[in-house]
Protein backbone atom coordinates (compact mmCIF):
# COMPACT_ATOMS: atom_id res chain seq x y z
CA UNK A 1 0.00 0.00 0.00
CA UNK A 2 2.67 2.39 1.08
CA UNK A 3 4.65 1.82 -2.10
CA UNK A 4 1.69 2.55 -4.33
CA UNK A 5 1.26 6.01 -2.88
CA UNK A 6 4.99 6.54 -2.71
CA UNK A 7 5.38 5.86 -6.39
CA UNK A 8 3.34 8.94 -7.15
CA UNK A 9 5.66 11.07 -5.09
CA UNK A 10 7.95 11.91 -7.95
CA UNK A 11 5.10 12.16 -10.40
CA UNK A 12 4.51 15.28 -12.43
CA UNK A 13 0.78 15.10 -11.73
CA UNK A 14 0.61 17.49 -8.74
CA UNK A 15 2.58 20.11 -10.64
CA UNK A 16 0.19 19.94 -13.58
CA UNK A 17 -2.79 20.16 -11.23
CA UNK A 18 -1.39 23.14 -9.36
CA UNK A 19 -0.13 25.07 -12.35
CA UNK A 20 -3.33 26.78 -13.60
CA UNK A 21 -4.30 28.11 -10.17
CA UNK A 22 -0.78 29.21 -9.28
CA UNK A 23 -0.30 30.95 -12.63
CA UNK A 24 -3.47 32.93 -12.17
CA UNK A 25 -2.50 33.89 -8.62
CA UNK A 26 0.99 34.88 -9.74
CA UNK A 27 -0.25 37.16 -12.51
CA UNK A 28 -3.34 38.71 -10.94
CA UNK A 29 -2.59 38.60 -7.23
CA UNK A 30 1.13 38.66 -6.54
CA UNK A 31 2.53 40.45 -9.56
CA UNK A 32 0.26 43.52 -9.07
CA UNK A 33 2.13 44.29 -5.84
CA UNK A 34 5.43 44.47 -7.72
CA UNK A 35 3.84 46.21 -10.66
CA UNK A 36 2.50 48.95 -8.38
CA UNK A 37 5.89 49.37 -6.73
CA UNK A 38 7.58 49.62 -10.13
CA UNK A 39 5.01 52.09 -11.50
CA UNK A 40 5.30 54.30 -8.44
CA UNK A 41 8.66 55.60 -9.69
CA UNK A 42 7.17 56.75 -12.97
CA UNK A 43 5.02 59.52 -14.23
CA UNK A 44 2.41 57.57 -16.11
CA UNK A 45 -0.82 59.11 -17.34
CA UNK A 46 -3.74 56.95 -18.37
CA UNK A 47 -4.43 58.79 -21.60
CA UNK A 48 -0.86 59.40 -22.78
CA UNK A 49 1.32 56.59 -24.11
CA UNK A 50 4.64 55.71 -22.43
CA UNK A 51 5.99 56.76 -19.05
CA UNK A 52 8.89 58.78 -17.64
CA UNK A 53 11.07 57.87 -14.68
CA UNK A 54 10.75 60.46 -11.92
CA UNK A 55 12.37 58.65 -8.98
CA UNK A 56 10.67 59.49 -5.71
CA UNK A 57 8.67 62.30 -7.35
CA UNK A 58 5.30 60.69 -6.68
CA UNK A 59 6.14 60.02 -3.04
CA UNK A 60 7.37 63.58 -2.48
CA UNK A 61 4.24 64.93 -4.13
CA UNK A 62 2.04 62.82 -1.87
CA UNK A 63 3.64 63.78 1.40
CA UNK A 64 3.38 67.45 0.49
CA UNK A 65 -0.29 67.08 -0.36
CA UNK A 66 -2.61 68.14 2.47
CA UNK A 67 -5.40 66.03 0.93
CA UNK A 68 -3.24 62.90 1.31
CA UNK A 69 -2.46 63.68 4.95
CA UNK A 70 -6.17 64.25 5.51
CA UNK A 71 -6.99 60.91 3.87
CA UNK A 72 -4.60 59.14 6.26
CA UNK A 73 -6.35 60.70 9.23
CA UNK A 74 -9.82 59.86 7.88
CA UNK A 75 -8.72 56.29 7.14
CA UNK A 76 -7.54 55.77 10.72
CA UNK A 77 -10.89 56.99 12.07
CA UNK A 78 -12.96 55.05 9.54
CA UNK A 79 -11.03 51.81 9.94
CA UNK A 80 -10.71 52.15 13.72
CA UNK A 81 -14.43 52.80 14.17
CA UNK A 82 -15.53 50.11 11.73
CA UNK A 83 -13.22 47.41 13.06
CA UNK A 84 -13.98 48.09 16.71
CA UNK A 85 -17.74 48.01 16.15
CA UNK A 86 -17.70 45.00 13.82
CA UNK A 87 -15.50 43.07 16.21
CA UNK A 88 -17.62 43.82 19.28
CA UNK A 89 -20.97 43.38 17.55
CA UNK A 90 -19.81 40.11 15.99
CA UNK A 91 -18.66 38.84 19.37
CA UNK A 92 -21.85 39.88 21.17
CA UNK A 93 -24.26 38.55 18.55
CA UNK A 94 -22.31 35.30 18.20
CA UNK A 95 -22.43 34.68 21.95
CA UNK A 96 -26.15 35.39 21.98
CA UNK A 97 -26.67 32.95 19.11
CA UNK A 98 -24.79 30.32 21.10
CA UNK A 99 -27.03 30.62 24.16
CA UNK A 100 -28.35 27.21 25.16
CA UNK A 101 -32.04 26.42 24.45
CA UNK A 102 -32.36 29.32 22.01
CA UNK A 103 -35.12 28.71 19.50
CA UNK A 104 -35.17 30.17 15.99
CA UNK A 105 -31.39 30.45 15.88
CA UNK A 106 -31.28 30.02 12.10
CA UNK A 107 -33.92 32.69 11.53
CA UNK A 108 -32.13 35.22 13.73
CA UNK A 109 -28.83 34.49 12.02
CA UNK A 110 -30.33 34.76 8.54
CA UNK A 111 -31.94 38.12 9.21
CA UNK A 112 -28.85 39.56 10.88
CA UNK A 113 -26.53 38.65 8.01
CA UNK A 114 -29.06 39.48 5.32
CA UNK A 115 -27.38 42.82 4.45
CA UNK A 116 -24.19 41.00 3.49
CA UNK A 117 -25.92 39.43 0.48
CA UNK A 118 -26.47 42.86 -1.05
CA UNK A 119 -23.98 44.66 -3.22
CA UNK A 120 -22.18 47.55 -1.52
CA UNK A 121 -23.77 49.63 -4.26
CA UNK A 122 -27.33 48.57 -3.36
CA UNK A 123 -26.57 48.98 0.34
CA UNK A 124 -25.40 52.52 -0.30
CA UNK A 125 -28.37 53.40 -2.49
CA UNK A 126 -30.81 52.19 0.18
CA UNK A 127 -29.12 54.24 2.88
CA UNK A 128 -28.72 57.22 0.57
CA UNK A 129 -32.50 57.41 0.23
CA UNK A 130 -33.21 56.59 3.87
CA UNK A 131 -30.86 59.37 4.97
CA UNK A 132 -32.15 61.92 2.48
CA UNK A 133 -32.58 65.25 4.32
CA UNK A 134 -35.89 66.13 2.59
CA UNK A 135 -37.74 62.85 2.15
CA UNK A 136 -35.71 60.22 3.98
CA UNK A 137 -37.47 57.87 6.34
CA UNK A 138 -34.90 58.42 9.08
CA UNK A 139 -35.66 62.10 9.33
CA UNK A 140 -39.32 61.16 9.33
CA UNK A 141 -38.82 58.83 12.28
CA UNK A 142 -36.90 61.39 14.31
CA UNK A 143 -39.54 64.01 13.45
CA UNK A 144 -42.08 61.80 15.25
CA UNK A 145 -40.05 62.49 18.37
CA UNK A 146 -40.06 66.20 17.65
CA UNK A 147 -36.51 66.44 16.29
CA UNK A 148 -35.54 68.76 13.45
CA UNK A 149 -34.49 67.18 10.13
CA UNK A 150 -30.76 66.47 9.95
CA UNK A 151 -28.55 66.60 6.87
CA UNK A 152 -26.84 63.33 7.79
CA UNK A 153 -24.37 62.99 4.95
CA UNK A 154 -23.23 66.56 5.44
CA UNK A 155 -22.93 67.04 9.18
CA UNK A 156 -22.44 63.41 10.26
CA UNK A 157 -20.78 61.98 7.17
CA UNK A 158 -18.01 59.95 8.80
CA UNK A 159 -20.10 58.36 11.59
CA UNK A 160 -22.82 57.56 9.08
CA UNK A 161 -20.51 55.79 6.60
CA UNK A 162 -18.99 53.85 9.50
CA UNK A 163 -22.43 52.73 10.67
CA UNK A 164 -23.53 51.71 7.18
CA UNK A 165 -20.29 49.77 6.76
CA UNK A 166 -20.86 48.03 10.10
CA UNK A 167 -24.48 47.27 9.17
CA UNK A 168 -23.23 45.61 6.00
CA UNK A 169 -20.03 43.98 7.17
CA UNK A 170 -20.50 42.57 10.69
CA UNK A 171 -21.41 39.21 9.12
CA UNK A 172 -17.83 38.08 8.75
CA UNK A 173 -16.80 38.43 12.39
CA UNK A 174 -20.17 37.12 13.53
CA UNK A 175 -19.86 33.88 11.53
CA UNK A 176 -16.23 33.37 12.48
CA UNK A 177 -16.93 33.83 16.18
CA UNK A 178 -20.03 31.68 16.08
CA UNK A 179 -18.30 28.73 14.47
CA UNK A 180 -15.33 29.09 16.81
CA UNK A 181 -17.64 29.15 19.84
CA UNK A 182 -19.36 25.99 18.68
CA UNK A 183 -15.97 24.30 18.88
CA UNK A 184 -15.59 25.00 22.60
CA UNK A 185 -16.46 21.83 24.54
CA UNK A 186 -19.74 22.22 26.40
CA UNK A 187 -18.30 20.27 29.34
CA UNK A 188 -16.03 23.23 30.19
CA UNK A 189 -19.06 25.44 30.77
CA UNK A 190 -20.88 22.77 32.74
CA UNK A 191 -17.88 22.24 35.01
CA UNK A 192 -17.60 26.00 35.56
CA UNK A 193 -21.29 26.22 36.33
CA UNK A 194 -20.98 23.49 38.93
CA UNK A 195 -18.11 25.46 40.47
CA UNK A 196 -20.42 28.46 40.71
CA UNK A 197 -19.00 30.66 37.95
CA UNK A 198 -21.38 33.37 36.72
CA UNK A 199 -22.31 33.83 33.06
CA UNK A 200 -19.93 36.76 32.89
CA UNK A 201 -17.06 34.82 34.49
CA UNK A 202 -17.59 31.91 32.15
CA UNK A 203 -17.40 34.31 29.20
CA UNK A 204 -14.18 35.93 30.47
CA UNK A 205 -12.36 32.77 31.57
CA UNK A 206 -13.56 30.16 29.07
CA UNK A 207 -14.94 31.80 25.92
CA UNK A 208 -12.46 34.63 25.42
CA UNK A 209 -9.22 32.61 25.83
CA UNK A 210 -10.59 29.98 23.42
CA UNK A 211 -11.21 32.71 20.86
CA UNK A 212 -7.70 34.11 20.85
CA UNK A 213 -6.61 32.68 17.53
CA UNK A 214 -9.87 33.45 15.79
CA UNK A 215 -9.87 37.02 17.17
CA UNK A 216 -6.46 37.63 15.68
CA UNK A 217 -7.64 36.28 12.35
CA UNK A 218 -10.86 38.30 12.41
CA UNK A 219 -9.01 41.48 13.31
CA UNK A 220 -6.50 41.04 10.51
CA UNK A 221 -9.16 40.20 7.95
CA UNK A 222 -11.63 42.98 8.77
CA UNK A 223 -8.93 45.61 9.22
CA UNK A 224 -7.35 44.85 5.86
CA UNK A 225 -10.73 44.60 4.18
CA UNK A 226 -11.83 47.96 5.56
CA UNK A 227 -8.62 49.73 4.63
CA UNK A 228 -8.85 48.50 1.09
CA UNK A 229 -12.52 48.86 0.30
CA UNK A 230 -14.37 52.04 -0.46
CA UNK A 231 -17.52 50.96 -2.31
CA UNK A 232 -19.89 52.36 0.32
CA UNK A 233 -18.08 55.69 0.53
CA UNK A 234 -17.83 55.82 -3.26
CA UNK A 235 -21.62 55.93 -3.54
CA UNK A 236 -22.70 57.66 -0.32
CA UNK A 237 -20.31 60.62 -0.17
CA UNK A 238 -17.61 60.14 -2.83
CA UNK A 239 -15.17 61.23 -0.12
CA UNK A 240 -16.94 64.48 0.79
CA UNK A 241 -18.03 66.77 2.18
CA UNK A 242 -14.69 68.61 1.96
CA UNK A 243 -12.71 65.40 2.36
CA UNK A 244 -14.47 64.35 5.57
CA UNK A 245 -14.82 60.76 4.34
CA UNK A 246 -11.98 60.72 1.82
CA UNK A 247 -10.43 57.41 2.89
CA UNK A 248 -7.19 56.37 1.24
CA UNK A 249 -8.87 53.95 -1.19
CA UNK A 250 -11.18 56.68 -2.42
CA UNK A 251 -8.27 59.09 -2.68
CA UNK A 252 -6.34 56.50 -4.71
CA UNK A 253 -9.21 55.82 -7.07
CA UNK A 254 -9.79 59.51 -7.70
CA UNK A 255 -6.16 60.16 -8.46
CA UNK A 256 -5.79 57.17 -10.76
CA UNK A 257 -9.10 57.19 -12.59
CA UNK A 258 -10.55 60.70 -12.20
CA UNK A 259 -7.28 62.62 -12.60
CA UNK A 260 -5.96 59.79 -14.82
CA UNK A 261 -2.61 59.73 -12.99
CA UNK A 262 -1.79 56.01 -12.88
CA UNK A 263 1.72 56.61 -11.51
CA UNK A 264 0.38 58.47 -8.51
CA UNK A 265 -2.38 55.90 -8.08
CA UNK A 266 0.23 53.11 -8.05
CA UNK A 267 2.22 55.01 -5.44
CA UNK A 268 -0.81 55.17 -3.16
CA UNK A 269 -1.40 51.43 -3.84
CA UNK A 270 2.16 50.72 -2.75
CA UNK A 271 1.67 52.69 0.44
CA UNK A 272 -1.55 50.80 1.15
CA UNK A 273 0.26 47.47 0.62
CA UNK A 274 2.97 48.48 3.07
CA UNK A 275 0.39 49.63 5.62
CA UNK A 276 -1.32 46.23 5.27
CA UNK A 277 1.88 44.36 6.05
CA UNK A 278 2.73 46.62 8.98
CA UNK A 279 -0.73 46.27 10.50
CA UNK A 280 -0.68 42.47 10.13
CA UNK A 281 2.69 42.34 11.88
CA UNK A 282 1.52 44.63 14.67
CA UNK A 283 -1.51 42.43 15.30
CA UNK A 284 0.54 39.23 15.32
CA UNK A 285 3.03 40.82 17.67
CA UNK A 286 0.31 42.17 19.90
CA UNK A 287 -1.30 38.77 20.27
CA UNK A 288 2.06 37.01 20.53
CA UNK A 289 3.57 34.88 17.81
CA UNK A 290 2.44 31.73 19.62
CA UNK A 291 -1.21 32.54 18.81
CA UNK A 292 -0.50 31.74 15.18
CA UNK A 293 1.00 28.36 15.95
CA UNK A 294 -1.37 27.02 18.56
CA UNK A 295 -4.37 26.68 16.33
CA UNK A 296 -6.43 24.06 18.05
Amino acid sequence: MQTILKKQKISIVPIVLLLPALTLLAVFSIYPVFNAFFLSFYNKQMLAPGKTFIGLGNYIHLFQDAAFMNSLKVTVLYVGGSVLLQFLMGLIIASLLCVKDLKGRAIFRTLIILPYTLSELVVSLIWLRMLDPQSGVINYIISLFGAQPVNWLFHWALPVVILVNVWWGTTFSLLMFESAMQGIPQSLYEAAEVDGASVFQRFIYITLPALKYISLLVLIMITLYTINSFGIIFVLTAGGPVGATNVIGMYMWNNAFQSSDLGLGATISTIIFIVNIVITLIYIRGFGMSTMERRD
Binding site: K9, S11, V13, P14, I15, L17, L18, P20, A21, L24, V27, F28, S29, I30, P32, V33, A36, I93, L96, L97, V99, I107, F108, R109, L111, L114, T117, L118, S119, L121, V122, I126, M130, Q134, S135, V137, N139, Y140, S143, W167, L175, M176, S179, G183, V199, L224, Y225, I227, N228, F234, G249, M252, A256, F257, L262, G265, I268, S269, I272, N276
Partner: protein
Protein backbone atom coordinates in the same frame (compact mmCIF):
# COMPACT_ATOMS: atom_id res chain seq x y z
CA UNK B 1 -32.32 31.37 33.58
CA UNK B 2 -35.70 32.32 32.12
CA UNK B 3 -34.94 36.05 32.16
CA UNK B 4 -31.59 35.45 30.55
CA UNK B 5 -33.30 33.77 27.61
CA UNK B 6 -35.86 36.56 27.36
CA UNK B 7 -33.14 39.21 27.25
CA UNK B 8 -31.36 37.20 24.56
CA UNK B 9 -34.53 37.06 22.47
CA UNK B 10 -35.11 40.78 22.82
CA UNK B 11 -31.57 41.78 21.83
CA UNK B 12 -31.45 39.33 18.94
CA UNK B 13 -34.81 40.58 17.70
CA UNK B 14 -33.52 44.15 17.68
CA UNK B 15 -30.51 43.13 15.61
CA UNK B 16 -32.64 40.97 13.32
CA UNK B 17 -35.04 43.84 12.68
CA UNK B 18 -32.06 46.11 12.09
CA UNK B 19 -30.85 43.76 9.39
CA UNK B 20 -34.25 43.18 7.86
CA UNK B 21 -35.98 46.57 7.84
CA UNK B 22 -33.67 48.46 5.43
CA UNK B 23 -33.85 45.50 3.03
CA UNK B 24 -37.66 45.56 3.25
CA UNK B 25 -37.54 49.30 2.76
CA UNK B 26 -35.83 48.70 -0.57
CA UNK B 27 -38.91 46.71 -1.66
CA UNK B 28 -41.20 49.49 -0.45
CA UNK B 29 -39.19 52.12 -2.34
CA UNK B 30 -39.24 49.99 -5.48
CA UNK B 31 -43.04 50.37 -5.56
CA UNK B 32 -43.20 54.15 -5.36
CA UNK B 33 -43.76 56.89 -7.92
CA UNK B 34 -41.10 59.62 -8.08
CA UNK B 35 -43.60 62.04 -6.55
CA UNK B 36 -44.30 59.80 -3.58
CA UNK B 37 -40.60 59.17 -2.99
CA UNK B 38 -39.94 62.89 -2.72
CA UNK B 39 -42.90 63.64 -0.52
CA UNK B 40 -42.82 64.12 3.20
CA UNK B 41 -44.13 62.75 5.52
CA UNK B 42 -43.24 59.29 4.41
CA UNK B 43 -46.61 57.86 5.43
CA UNK B 44 -48.06 59.02 2.12
CA UNK B 45 -46.03 56.26 0.53
CA UNK B 46 -48.36 53.53 1.55
CA UNK B 47 -51.42 55.03 -0.20
CA UNK B 48 -50.76 53.65 -3.66
CA UNK B 49 -48.14 51.40 -5.16
CA UNK B 50 -46.57 51.63 -8.58
CA UNK B 51 -46.01 48.09 -9.86
CA UNK B 52 -45.07 49.44 -13.28
CA UNK B 53 -41.60 50.23 -11.98
CA UNK B 54 -40.57 46.64 -12.51
CA UNK B 55 -41.78 46.69 -16.08
CA UNK B 56 -40.04 49.97 -16.79
CA UNK B 57 -36.83 48.63 -15.24
CA UNK B 58 -36.89 45.55 -17.44
CA UNK B 59 -37.98 47.22 -20.66
CA UNK B 60 -36.36 50.64 -20.66
CA UNK B 61 -33.67 50.53 -18.07
CA UNK B 62 -31.45 47.97 -19.76
CA UNK B 63 -31.31 45.94 -16.56
CA UNK B 64 -32.11 42.94 -18.73
CA UNK B 65 -28.84 43.33 -20.63
CA UNK B 66 -27.13 43.97 -17.31
CA UNK B 67 -28.34 40.67 -15.90
CA UNK B 68 -27.09 38.80 -18.97
CA UNK B 69 -23.70 40.47 -18.67
CA UNK B 70 -23.55 39.71 -14.95
CA UNK B 71 -24.35 36.09 -15.74
CA UNK B 72 -21.54 35.86 -18.30
CA UNK B 73 -19.00 37.41 -15.92
CA UNK B 74 -20.11 35.37 -12.92
CA UNK B 75 -20.45 32.15 -14.93
CA UNK B 76 -16.98 32.51 -16.42
CA UNK B 77 -15.49 33.24 -13.02
CA UNK B 78 -17.26 30.26 -11.48
CA UNK B 79 -15.98 27.81 -14.08
CA UNK B 80 -12.37 29.00 -14.01
CA UNK B 81 -12.08 29.61 -10.29
CA UNK B 82 -13.76 26.43 -9.08
CA UNK B 83 -12.06 24.18 -11.66
CA UNK B 84 -8.58 25.53 -11.02
CA UNK B 85 -9.09 25.52 -7.27
CA UNK B 86 -10.45 21.96 -7.25
CA UNK B 87 -7.46 20.64 -9.22
CA UNK B 88 -4.98 22.49 -7.02
CA UNK B 89 -6.70 21.40 -3.81
CA UNK B 90 -6.69 17.78 -4.99
CA UNK B 91 -2.95 17.95 -5.56
CA UNK B 92 -2.42 19.53 -2.14
CA UNK B 93 -4.62 17.02 -0.34
CA UNK B 94 -3.44 13.81 -1.97
CA UNK B 95 0.16 14.14 -3.08
CA UNK B 96 3.28 14.48 -1.02
CA UNK B 97 5.91 16.92 -2.19
CA UNK B 98 8.44 19.27 -0.69
CA UNK B 99 7.24 22.64 0.58
CA UNK B 100 3.58 21.65 0.53
CA UNK B 101 2.71 23.16 3.91
CA UNK B 102 4.45 26.38 2.94
CA UNK B 103 2.58 26.51 -0.37
CA UNK B 104 -0.74 26.08 1.41
CA UNK B 105 0.03 28.95 3.79
CA UNK B 106 1.31 31.01 0.87
CA UNK B 107 -1.94 30.53 -1.01
CA UNK B 108 -3.93 31.66 1.99
CA UNK B 109 -1.62 34.66 2.41
CA UNK B 110 -2.49 35.90 -1.10
CA UNK B 111 -5.92 36.36 0.42
CA UNK B 112 -4.36 39.19 2.41
CA UNK B 113 -3.27 41.03 -0.72
CA UNK B 114 -6.06 43.53 -1.07
CA UNK B 115 -8.16 43.39 -4.21
CA UNK B 116 -9.22 47.00 -4.19
CA UNK B 117 -5.85 48.57 -3.50
CA UNK B 118 -4.53 46.52 -6.42
CA UNK B 119 -7.01 48.13 -8.78
CA UNK B 120 -4.40 50.49 -10.27
CA UNK B 121 -1.77 47.82 -11.09
CA UNK B 122 -4.53 45.46 -12.25
CA UNK B 123 -5.76 48.11 -14.64
CA UNK B 124 -2.21 48.53 -15.91
CA UNK B 125 -1.73 44.75 -16.32
CA UNK B 126 -5.01 44.37 -18.19
CA UNK B 127 -3.94 47.18 -20.48
CA UNK B 128 -0.64 45.55 -21.35
CA UNK B 129 -2.38 42.20 -21.92
CA UNK B 130 -4.95 43.97 -24.14
CA UNK B 131 -7.67 42.71 -21.84
CA UNK B 132 -9.05 46.05 -20.79
CA UNK B 133 -12.77 46.46 -21.54
CA UNK B 134 -13.17 42.68 -21.95
CA UNK B 135 -15.09 40.09 -19.98
CA UNK B 136 -11.99 37.88 -20.03
CA UNK B 137 -9.88 40.40 -18.11
CA UNK B 138 -12.54 40.90 -15.47
CA UNK B 139 -13.15 37.15 -15.16
CA UNK B 140 -9.45 36.44 -14.64
CA UNK B 141 -9.24 39.10 -11.91
CA UNK B 142 -12.31 37.71 -10.13
CA UNK B 143 -11.04 34.15 -10.51
CA UNK B 144 -7.68 35.04 -8.98
CA UNK B 145 -9.48 36.78 -6.14
CA UNK B 146 -11.66 33.78 -5.27
CA UNK B 147 -9.22 30.92 -5.93
CA UNK B 148 -7.37 31.00 -2.57
CA UNK B 149 -10.47 30.52 -0.47
CA UNK B 150 -11.87 27.96 -2.91
CA UNK B 151 -8.63 25.97 -2.59
CA UNK B 152 -9.08 26.00 1.18
CA UNK B 153 -12.71 24.94 0.95
CA UNK B 154 -11.91 22.07 -1.44
CA UNK B 155 -8.78 21.09 0.45
CA UNK B 156 -10.89 20.65 3.58
CA UNK B 157 -13.34 18.40 1.74
CA UNK B 158 -10.67 16.26 0.08
CA UNK B 159 -8.90 15.81 3.40
CA UNK B 160 -12.06 14.39 4.93
CA UNK B 161 -12.27 11.62 2.33
CA UNK B 162 -10.55 8.43 3.59
CA UNK B 163 -7.23 7.65 1.90
CA UNK B 164 -8.29 4.00 1.47
CA UNK B 165 -10.69 5.12 -1.25
CA UNK B 166 -7.86 6.23 -3.47
CA UNK B 167 -5.69 3.27 -2.62
CA UNK B 168 -8.47 0.84 -3.47
CA UNK B 169 -9.09 2.59 -6.76
CA UNK B 170 -5.42 2.41 -7.70
CA UNK B 171 -5.26 -1.28 -6.83
CA UNK B 172 -8.32 -1.88 -8.99
CA UNK B 173 -6.38 -0.37 -11.85
CA UNK B 174 -7.89 3.13 -12.01
CA UNK B 175 -5.62 5.78 -13.46
CA UNK B 176 -5.08 9.04 -11.59
CA UNK B 177 -7.60 10.61 -13.93
CA UNK B 178 -10.38 8.04 -13.48
CA UNK B 179 -9.80 7.90 -9.73
CA UNK B 180 -10.38 11.62 -9.64
CA UNK B 181 -13.41 11.85 -11.93
CA UNK B 182 -15.18 8.62 -10.94
CA UNK B 183 -14.44 8.30 -7.23
CA UNK B 184 -13.29 11.55 -5.69
CA UNK B 185 -15.25 14.19 -7.57
CA UNK B 186 -18.75 12.81 -6.89
CA UNK B 187 -17.93 12.64 -3.19
CA UNK B 188 -16.63 16.20 -3.17
CA UNK B 189 -19.78 17.68 -4.69
CA UNK B 190 -20.90 19.42 -1.46
CA UNK B 191 -17.52 21.16 -1.36
CA UNK B 192 -17.86 22.21 -4.97
CA UNK B 193 -21.31 23.54 -4.14
CA UNK B 194 -19.88 25.63 -1.31
CA UNK B 195 -17.10 26.96 -3.52
CA UNK B 196 -19.55 27.81 -6.32
CA UNK B 197 -21.89 29.62 -4.00
CA UNK B 198 -19.12 31.58 -2.34
CA UNK B 199 -17.67 32.59 -5.72
CA UNK B 200 -21.08 33.50 -7.09
CA UNK B 201 -21.89 35.80 -4.17
CA UNK B 202 -18.51 37.51 -4.31
CA UNK B 203 -18.63 38.14 -8.04
CA UNK B 204 -22.26 38.97 -8.72
CA UNK B 205 -22.36 41.95 -6.35
CA UNK B 206 -19.02 43.59 -7.18
CA UNK B 207 -19.19 46.96 -8.86
CA UNK B 208 -16.03 49.05 -8.60
CA UNK B 209 -13.85 46.59 -10.54
CA UNK B 210 -16.20 46.40 -13.57
CA UNK B 211 -16.87 50.12 -13.32
CA UNK B 212 -13.16 50.76 -13.69
CA UNK B 213 -12.16 48.16 -16.27
CA UNK B 214 -15.19 48.18 -18.61
CA UNK B 215 -15.98 51.19 -20.81
CA UNK B 216 -18.47 49.69 -23.19
CA UNK B 217 -22.01 50.29 -21.97
CA UNK B 218 -23.21 47.05 -23.59
CA UNK B 219 -20.87 45.06 -21.35
CA UNK B 220 -21.84 46.53 -17.99
CA UNK B 221 -23.04 44.08 -15.34
CA UNK B 222 -26.25 45.03 -13.57
CA UNK B 223 -24.41 46.75 -10.71
CA UNK B 224 -22.62 49.18 -13.03
CA UNK B 225 -25.85 49.74 -14.97
CA UNK B 226 -27.55 50.61 -11.73
CA UNK B 227 -24.76 52.97 -10.76
CA UNK B 228 -24.97 54.69 -14.14
CA UNK B 229 -28.76 55.17 -13.80
CA UNK B 230 -28.35 57.05 -10.58
CA UNK B 231 -26.11 59.52 -12.37
CA UNK B 232 -28.44 59.66 -15.37
CA UNK B 233 -30.48 62.88 -15.54
CA UNK B 234 -33.71 61.13 -16.56
CA UNK B 235 -33.59 57.66 -15.01
CA UNK B 236 -31.68 58.84 -11.95
CA UNK B 237 -34.53 60.91 -10.60
CA UNK B 238 -36.88 57.95 -10.74
CA UNK B 239 -35.68 56.09 -7.69
CA UNK B 240 -38.66 53.75 -7.82
CA UNK B 241 -37.28 52.27 -11.04
CA UNK B 242 -33.74 52.31 -9.63
CA UNK B 243 -34.83 50.21 -6.66
CA UNK B 244 -37.00 47.93 -8.80
CA UNK B 245 -33.82 47.21 -10.77
CA UNK B 246 -31.88 46.76 -7.55
CA UNK B 247 -34.44 44.24 -6.31
CA UNK B 248 -34.33 42.28 -9.57
CA UNK B 249 -30.53 42.22 -9.55
CA UNK B 250 -30.36 41.29 -5.88
CA UNK B 251 -32.87 38.43 -5.98
CA UNK B 252 -30.38 35.80 -7.22
CA UNK B 253 -27.95 36.33 -4.34
CA UNK B 254 -30.71 36.89 -1.81
CA UNK B 255 -32.60 33.69 -2.69
CA UNK B 256 -29.45 31.65 -3.02
CA UNK B 257 -28.34 32.83 0.39
CA UNK B 258 -31.65 32.11 2.09
CA UNK B 259 -31.80 28.56 0.70
CA UNK B 260 -28.14 27.55 0.76
CA UNK B 261 -26.98 29.54 3.76
CA UNK B 262 -25.02 26.58 5.12
CA UNK B 263 -22.72 26.56 2.08
CA UNK B 264 -22.09 30.26 2.34
CA UNK B 265 -21.21 30.07 6.02
CA UNK B 266 -18.94 27.13 5.32
CA UNK B 267 -17.22 29.10 2.57
CA UNK B 268 -16.61 32.15 4.72
CA UNK B 269 -15.30 30.29 7.73
CA UNK B 270 -13.37 27.45 6.11
CA UNK B 271 -9.63 27.47 6.26
CA UNK B 272 -9.86 29.72 9.27
CA UNK B 273 -11.66 27.76 11.90
CA UNK B 274 -10.67 24.32 10.80
CA UNK B 275 -7.04 23.90 9.80
Amino acid sequence: MKTKLTVTYVILSVFALGGLLPVLWMFVMSLQTPRALNSFPTLNWFKDFEFNNYQIALNQGGIYQGLINSSIITGGTLIISVTFATLAAYALANFEFKGKALLLIGILMTQLIPGMAAIVPLFDILKSLHLINTYTGLILIFAARTIPLNIWIMHGFFKELPAELREAAIIDGCSVYTTFTRIILPLALPGIGAACMFTFMQTWIDFIMPLTTLFDQNKFPFTVMLYKYVGDPIMGTNYGVVFASAVIGTLPTLLMFVFFQRFFVKGLTSGAVKG
